[in-house]
Symmetry: C2
Amino acid sequence: MNKKELISQIKKKRSFLCIGLDTDIKKIPAHLLDADDPIFEFNKQIIDATKQYCVAYKPNIAFYESLGVKGWESLQKTLSYIPKDIFTIADAKRGDIGNTSDMYARAFFETMNFDSVTVAPYMGSDSVVPFLQFKDKWAIVLALTSNKGGLDFQTIKDADGQHLFEQVLETSKQWGTAENMMYVVGATRAQQLAEIRVIIPDHFLLVPGVGAQGGNLQDVAKYGMNTDCGLLVNSSRGIIYASNQLNFAEMAANEAMKLQLQMDVLLSENNL
Amino acid sequence: MNKKELISQIKKKRSFLCIGLDTDIKKIPAHLLDADDPIFEFNKQIIDATKQYCVAYKPNIAFYESLGVKGWESLQKTLSYIPKDIFTIADAKRGDIGNTSDMYARAFFETMNFDSVTVAPYMGSDSVVPFLQFKDKWAIVLALTSNKGGLDFQTIKDADGQHLFEQVLETSKQWGTAENMMYVVGATRAQQLAEIRVIIPDHFLLVPGVGAQGGNLQDVAKYGMNTDCGLLVNSSRGIIYASNQLNFAEMAANEAMKLQLQMDVLLSENNL
């Protein structure tokens, strides 16, 4: 999916919601465990119930990988089931030397057919650039993450007072364009979105951490929204595990709708 | 495998060689392509031919992942085929927020049965610590990598003149011990091994980049070896793609043996 199509979906659905499919066999409703493929069955019902409220789905690859071959089958089926007008993110945090990153890019863009992959920047240019060689596909580079450990290295200052995450933004934005790169910026660091927007005014930001991790949607929009919206705000556990009863999908839809309604207001306030 | 057992294998085999199984369907000998599982067949013959010369195998996970479900099956079979007295490394460069890193740890340590996983440090403590919770299993954290992009961020200096990779070493060594953590340090940066040994005298180092990437084994031993050896030196392409003819396994064994003979000398010179 290209940038224009993504923006068009956001305007049409009045939403910039991304739903994280962190599907854990230990957390899904008990009545699904008898299904042939409980993970896929859960995702299918979540997708059916929530697809009108979101513009992106983000399977967290670790949750599938931990189940081995069977997990990868569930992931493939889930990806095929997601409607084609919804943006897909393989939340995989990959990144390795050039020829190896190229293999990861093929894994997610060709063997599977994801629109985007999250990528870790520690190994530098040749670990990210291979993800930028595919038409209408995206690398989503980690900049400032919402977890506690995000402060261990990302906010180290160099001799000029620039944080590591700012250097990651400054340097990596030269490897691609706002048409094939996005950045991960945690919602728990919303104020820093303003500084980040000075460096990358045009790029889309993938913002995890609204809900379970404590971030605030209004702050994210205030500091991070640009004239294209420029935001995909993710919620995972707050939506998909809203209930573990028979009505789990309905409850998930409810939570997704609540966020979509807030997003509609925020889009309108920004003339979008 | 614990540290004592690894050191004992190094002394017994007179080798600290790790062989990288970067098995690419496009590079393996044509006569293998008719096999049921050409990737596994290639690995099996490489393992049979080289196991006496090495103490570790390192499948590069991207190469398997790029083949989807079938690739994961080849990986599982390969792992099961590796003799139990050889250390296994999932070269996966994983790392995510705590609950997700925990899933990756389970994927590689429980669903599969690797001894170790390579881990990217950008997301900090909670992205690494979940890999340290398994008995006799290891996290191998990226410090200073051998690729061109390794210089983009890893060598940035802070206000005190300390490089990022040094801060990664200083900070992360407090999360575990030399019994459950190793570090990746590229062979093309051999002189820096001396500085690194000041910070982490006791940890094992996984050193890629000897051979195809231009690093020098003698320099690595000179600057990086400690009283336990403390080194696993990896070669991938230089060994497994020594030939693409019928005798590929024999030629691979030849290359592995050459390195092992050099390692024997280096171990003796260091009274090991």
